[in-house]
Structure formats: C-alpha cells, structure tokens
C-alpha cells in the first residue's frame, strides 16, 4: 500500500486532570469510510477536534498527502481541505439556508454580499444532497434532519478532501438516514476521505470500510469491517481489564414498587418510557451519550415537559397516580451539571444544604427559618457524609468537586425523599471521592430508598446496580439483570 492520504502520528493531548490522548496513530485513504469507535470518553472527539483545528495537540504531527501540515485553527483545517460535520449543529434558526452556509465566508461584490452567487452555489450543493429547498428558507422551518443536511452542505462548500462526521444520525429519521448514507457513498466514490464517528455499530457495519477503536485515549485495534464482528468491536471498546464488579455489593432486600412510570413520551426525545423502581433498589439507567438517559431523569422530576405519561408513587402502601408537577416532592435529583444546576456557588455550605428543605426548618407556623435547627441538620449530614469543610459558612465554590457533590447529596438527605435520581454523580471526581459516592448510594439503598443511577462509566454502574435499563434513541430497549456482563450491556446500548 502506498502512503495513506491522511496520517496522524503519535498524537497526545492532556486536559487538566486527564490525559485524553496518549500517542494515537490514525490513518485513512481516499475513497474510504473509516469508522472511529470508542466508548464515552475514549478520545474520539478530542482526536477529531485535533484534526479539525479546535484542539491543539501537545505532541504529534499530521500529514496530508505525505506532507506535514500545521493545523492551529478551524480555518487552517478548512484550508487543508478538512471539513467537520458536528453532532450538535451550530445553526442559526432565524437565518436562511444560504446565510447559514456562507456565514463564515460571504462572497462580496461592490462591497455588498453577492446573493446571486450564493444562491447559485447553494442550489447546486442542495441538489447534490438531493434536496430542493429554496436557499431563502429559514432554518427553523426545517426538520432536524434537513438542518443536518444544511450542516453537511456547509461542509461541502469548501470542496473538502477529508470529511469528519460526528454522530451524524443522532437526530435523523430512518428515511433521512438512508439518504445520508447515499450521500456518504457518493462522496466516497468521488475520492474523499470520510471519517465516521458513531456509537451505533449497525451503522458502522452498514457503511464503513474500516474501523479503528479507541479506548482511554489509545488506539486498541481495528481492521477491515468485513473481517470483524460486533463482538470483536465491543471487546475492543471495553477492554479485558477485569473490574471488581462486586465492589462493595451486597445482595439487598428489595421491596415493593414505589415509583411507576407509564408511557412517558416527548416527541423526538423520549419514546414510550415505562419502568418501575422498587424500594431499596439501585437501577442503572445505561446508554450511550445522547440515548435519552438524562432526558428521562429531567422529565421525571418535571424539569422538562412531556407530551404523555403517567406517574404513580407509593406514598403509604399502594401506588397512587400523581401529576408530573408533583413528582419532585418525592424525588431527590442530582444533575450531571454540578456547577450549573447543582449548586449556588457563591453561597455557603449551610445555605446550599438546606435549600431543598427550607420549609422543614420552620416551626410550621411562621415562615422563618430556625437557625439552630438549620445548623444542627447541616452538621449532621456534614458528619455523616464526611464533607471536608472549615465551617458551615464556607462558600461552596471553594470546595473540591467531591465535597461539592456531597453537599448536593446532603441537601437531599436533609429533605429525605424516597427516590433519588443521580445523573453522573461521580463525573470529574477523583478515585477516593468516587468510592465515597458509591458507598453512599449503597447505604441509601439499604435504608430503603430507590435510586435511579445514570453513569457513562460502565464499571461504576455495574458496581452498584441491582438491575439495568438500557436506553437507545430515546427508548428503553432492554432490561438486564445484575448478572449481565459488560459485553451484554455494551451490545444492548450500541444497538446490536
């Protein structure tokens, strides 16, 4: 084989606290669709952001057509014929298709934008993508799939030689998906290098020629798709590292259902979600990024609206139907964005910890908070969760991530709900704090609470869950027992 068209050599990049890429090599040829596969946080996006000029690597070099190139910005990348079709579309809803496509590169004539040229090229590219929108159509009037096509059109504008697709199908209908595959195939036959990032193994097997698997910032394997099976790829994704699956796990006594969700749907986001949580049970809600895990959690506590759905909760001894707006009275919610949605950063530990339980701190008659009660309760949970603080007036933004997370958990312990939802409760925490949080989850379950745990770390979810609900594309596609293996979980989530 001759020199590959694109070659990335020994790329390394570290972010504060994490080495995202550890000397990754990657190559691709013209007329080839290469799948870049890996679990959440494996380094796929970082690697492609290096190629797209969004991230400057610490080490390593990029060769195109055998010549070394310097890519320091998305503009450099574009100059070298690299186009990036992002997963999250950076569209401008109130602008037209033509404006969106040319936003960074308007052609001028006599000092004014040359709409004649723009419209001509726009129509040409839209035709190539097989759609016949008027270039003046506003983006907000297009379906998500068509918006994605516009994004692709924008990438094609530069006549790129290398096109990166990052999870391009996540918002597409199956019809639109077929259409996208056709476009990819035609680009391929025109000799472009196509890099396809996806969680969805069925798609990878459909359209890719070769796969490269990343894990923890390293290339762990790959090969021609025709010579690989689903199992091979899943094994590469999760590795052979044996984790202590039963870390701290004790068989718990699981009681009666205390929460039942039926037919919870929201158009385009959640599709007929039904499940139950039982007393003393930890349920792992597992799925890849964008599968709808977080959306389930948010809808469950009324933070996001739903189209349909019934909620039942067991208050005394039987399940009673309640409204969506009432669920939050029974559920403690720990969101994935600790700083943006979890904490009142400039406020004190005490005020953060009492936030959910303020009415419980009054004497029940006057609306005033009893200082002594507040201090005592705060101290009780600071001690119980072993939160390291100088005093209760310390501002919560000065705490470490682990202690901040414990403050949020302490907030809910003060309120003492019967159900907890924890969305990525250990994200960004060190090993010690992670194991603390896991212990707290176990303790809570033993004390009779029901816990819905969302985590991108398969080891974490496996170490505490009593059973799993696996999500894909906004649906719960499978329920697995605690005995499920890593491979089963990964296969169910990746859509095999």
């Amino acid at each position: 084989m001759t020199v590959p068209f694109l070659r990335m050599e020994n790329i390394s990049k570290s972010f504060p606290g994490v080495q995202a890429l550890k000397g990754v090599n990657f190559e691709a040829n013209q007329g080839e669709v290469v799948a870049l596969i890996g679990a959440n946080g494996a380094g796929k996006s970082t690697l492609m952001n290096v190629l797209g000029g969004n991230v400057i690597p610490d080490e390593g070099k990029i060769l195109i057509n055998g010549k070394e190139v310097n890519i320091h910005s998305p503009l450099d990348a574009a100059r070298h014929g690299i186009a990036f079709v992002h997963q999250e579309m950076a569209v401008l809803p109130t602008m037209s298709i033509a404006d969106t496509m040319f936003i960074s590169n308007f052609p001028y004539k006599n000092g004014l934008i040359d709409y004649k040229t723009i419209n001509k090229r726009c129509i040409f590219i839209l035709k190539r993508l097989g759609c016949n929108f008027d270039p003046g159509t506003k983006i907000r009037n297009l379906s998500p799939g068509s918006q994605q096509l516009v994004e692709i059109g924008r990438a094609l504008l530069m006549d790129p030689k290398i096109i990166i697709f990052d999870e391009p199908t996540s918002s597409l209908t199956s019809h639109e998906k077929e259409h996208l595959f056709k476009i990819i195939n035609s680009l391929k036959s025109e000799g472009a290098v196509i890099i396809y990032i996806s969680h969805m193994l069925d798609e990878v097997f459909r359209i890719c020629d070769r796969a490269i698997v990343l894990r923890n910032g390293e290339t762990v394997g790959g090969g021609r798709i025709s010579e690989l099976t689903y199992d091979d790829i899943v094994k590469l994704m999760i590795g052979s590292k044996q984790i202590d699956q039963y870390y701290g796990y004790k068989q718990r006594i699981i009681g009666d259902p205390i929460l039942k969700v039926e037919h919870m749907s929201r158009k385009g986001v959640l599709d007929n979600i039904c499940f139950e949580l039982k007393k003393g049970e930890v349920v792992g809600l597992w799925g890849l990024l964008g599968s709808g895990r977080t959306e389930v959690a948010r809808a469950l506590v009324g933070l996001d609206p739903i189209d349909t759905g019934d909620f039942y909760i067991c208050v005394s001894d039987k399940l009673e139907k309640i409204k969506q707006s009432e669920t939050k009275n029974y559920i403690g919610m720990i969101t994935e964005n600790r700083r943006e949605e979890g904490l009142l950063l400039p406020m004190s530990v005490r005020h953060n910890m009492s936030l959910a339980n303020l009415r419980g701190l009054t004497n029940g008659f006057l609306p005033f908070i009893q200082n002594k009660k507040e201090k005592e309760l705060t101290q009780k949970f600071v001690d119980r969760l072993d939160i390291k603080i100088a005093n209760q007036n310390q501002r919560v933004e000065t705490l470490s991530g682990g202690n901040q997370q414990k403050v949020i958990i302490g907030r809910w312990l003060q309120k003492n709900p019967i159900i907890y939802i924890m969305d990525e409760p250990t994200r960004g925490l060190d090993v010690g704090a992670k194991s603390d949080i896991r212990n707290i989850i176990n303790e809570l379950a033993e004390s009779g609470a029901a816990i819905l745990l969302i985590s991108s770390e398969i080891e974490e979810i496996m170490s505490v869950s009593d059973r799993y609900l696996v999500m894909r594309r906004g649906r719960i596609v499978k329920e697995l027992s605690r005995d499920a293996t890593k491979e089963e979980l990964m296969l169910a989530a990746a859509g095999a």
Binding site: K328, P346, L355, T398
Partner: protein, 332 residues
C-alpha cells in the same frame, strides 16, 4: 475594606457573621459595608458644604424626603435580587396615587383611597410578574412598556392637572407624628425591618436569593422559582403603592409628574449604591434604604450648589455605571 480577596482565600477561617448580613455570607463583606462607608463620606462632605445641614429639623426633613425613595429602592431590591428589574415603579406609583386622589376629590373616604393606592399598583406589579415568570418575557421590556402605559395613562386621566385639595384627615395623618416620629420615617423603619427579616430569615427570602443566584439550581432543588419571581414583582408594586400614599400626602396632591421617567434613575441608583447587585442574588433591604439616603443627600448637595438638573442626571447615571462595573468585575 474595599479590597476583595480571591475567593479561595476567604473562608478558611471561622467568621462571625451577624444576623442581618445575608450579603456577607454570599459575596464577602464588600457589598455589606460599602454603602455605610459611602453614607459616612457623603454625610461628612454634605455637612461641610451645606449650612444648617446638621440641624435636627433639617435631618428630619432629609429623612422624610428619603423615605419615599427608600420604599421604592427596597421594592426594586427585591426584584433585582430575584434576577430581574422593574422600570415601571414611577409610573405605577403615580397612577395609584392619582386614582386614590381622584377618589378623595369626589368625596371618598381617605382610608379607601389609601387602599386604592395600594391595590392598583399591586395589580400592575402582578401583571409584570406574570409576564416575566409565566410568559418568559424579558423584564426590561415588560416593565419599560408598563412604565410607558402607566405614565401615559396618568397624563390622560388627569389632563396634566394635579389633583389637590385633599382632605386634611389624609395628609394630616400620613404627615403626622407617632411618638414624636414622623409617620413616613416610622413606616420606612418598620417596613425595612420586616422585609429584612423576611429576606434573610424566612424560607421565602432564601428562595428569592437562590432564584436570583442560579435559577436552574433553584428549579432542580424544588424551589418554586416562577412563583417567587411573580411575587417579587407584585411586591415591588406594593412598595410603589406605599410610596404613592406617602408622596401624595407629602405633596398634598397627586400628579403625573410623580411618575416621571427620571425617577427610575434615582431608584436604581439607590439600590445599586446600596450594594444590591443588578445581576441578581445579592442585596438587602437595609442596604437599599441606606442607598436611598445617599442618593437623596447627593441630590440635595447638587441642588444647593445650583448644579443643573441635566448635570445631575449625568452624574447619577455615571454613579450607576461605576457601581455596577465594580460589581461586574468582582463577580468575574
């Protein structure tokens, strides 16, 4: 006192915090002490330049002047803490005053007139609150439009003529003394204490600060943030109403002039100088009241010095920008 340490360095030693200083909990001590420091400086400067300033009767008259601004600054503070802004307070206040005064002119009872002066502003405040919280409208736009509506309506219903000859039982009672203290001052003192207590010691106050600090966190934690915002605007309407009563009595008349646009400058300047953050989550009622006294003193000294009205606008606008800039820099 004016220097701010890096946030990391502050709290690692136990700190005794007095019970009325919620701001001290949240953003260091600056926003708590700064208004008092400024008050002392302004007070000293004014007493040096203005003859007879230090006489008791003059002090009392300054405080009476400050009382109506203080009430509105407190109402504004509550809205600012919630993360919004209320630009319609002058117009709402004037419209309430005018309807109440018209009722008395037609021979209505002063008590019911006072009630009218409270109820109309509260209803208008509730409309603001509903638009901002439940309809997700931008506070600036809603309340600016409300200011236009109310001040325009005030001119329409009065034909630009002020309503005077109000019954003595109204003006006399409001401008009278209780235990030797003028009623306007007493009202401000009592209301300030009650509102300060509600802000710093009640769960509603905590909800308000939480909503203004981070509405997303507040919602996730089960705080009824929309209701809180709605009530904040209704409350600022109520404060505009109380002001309407006091100001009508003091002027012995009600006129559309009361609701002139420039008044909002004084209200926001008072709140800002009092350390109420225009970015939400920080401020107290006492500080807003202190800010009102500072602004009144500045107004008086500029009056004495024969500074043109338009220059005072320039100066007050500049004060707002400087104070808000300090706040913004500190928050980065």
């Amino acid at each position: 006192m004016l220097t701010e340490k890096k946030s990391e360095e502050i709290p690692l030693r136990p700190k005794k915090v007095s019970r009325f200083t919620y701001a001290a909990f949240t953003l260091g001590n600056w926003s708590h002490y700064f208004p008092y420091l400024l008050l002392i400086i302004v007070f000293v400067v004014v007493s040096l330049f203005v003859p007879y300033f230090l006489t008791l009767s003059n002090q009392v008259s300054v405080l009476i002047q400050a009382s109506s601004l203080a009430l509105m600054a407190i109402g504004q503070a509550v809205v600012l803490i919630s993360g919004g802004i209320d630009l319609s307070m002058p117009g709402i206040m004037a419209l309430g005053a005018i309807f109440g005064a018209m009722f008395m002119r037609e021979g209505g009872s002063p008590l019911i007139a006072a009630l009218i002066m409270l109820v109309i502003p509260v209803i208008l405040g509730m409309i603001n609150g509903f638009s901002v919280s439940y309809l997700n409208m931008i506070p600036f736009v809603v309340t600016l439009a409300m200011q236009a509506i109310t001040s325009g309506a005030a001119i329409l219903v009065t034909n630009q003529v002020s309503i005077s000859h109000l019954p003595k039982s109204f003006t006399g009672t409001i401008m009278g003394n209780v235990m030797g203290i003028p009623v306007p001052i007493l009202t401000v003192v009592i209301l300030t204490i009650i509102i300060q207590l509600i802000l710093t010691r009640s769960y509603f106050g905590r909800w308000l600060y939480a909503t203004g600090t981070n509405i997303r966190t507040a919602l996730v934690s089960g705080v009824p943030a929309k209701k809180v915002i709605f009530l904040a605007y209704a409350f600022s309407g109520l404060m505009a109403g109380v002001t309407a009563i006091i100001l009508t009595a003091r002027l012995a008349s009600a006129s559309p002039q009361m609701g002139k646009d420039a008044l909002i400058m004084d209200i926001i300047a008072a709140a800002a100088v009092g350390g109420v953050s225009t970015m939400g989550g920080v401020g107290t009622a006492i500080n807003a009241a202190v800010g009102a006294i500072i602004i009144i003193l500045i107004n008086n000294v500029m009056n004495m010095a024969n500074v043109s009205y338009y220059l005072t606008l320039v100066i007050k606008g500049a004060i707002i920008i400087v104070v808000v800039a300090i706040d913004a820099v500190r928050r980065r």
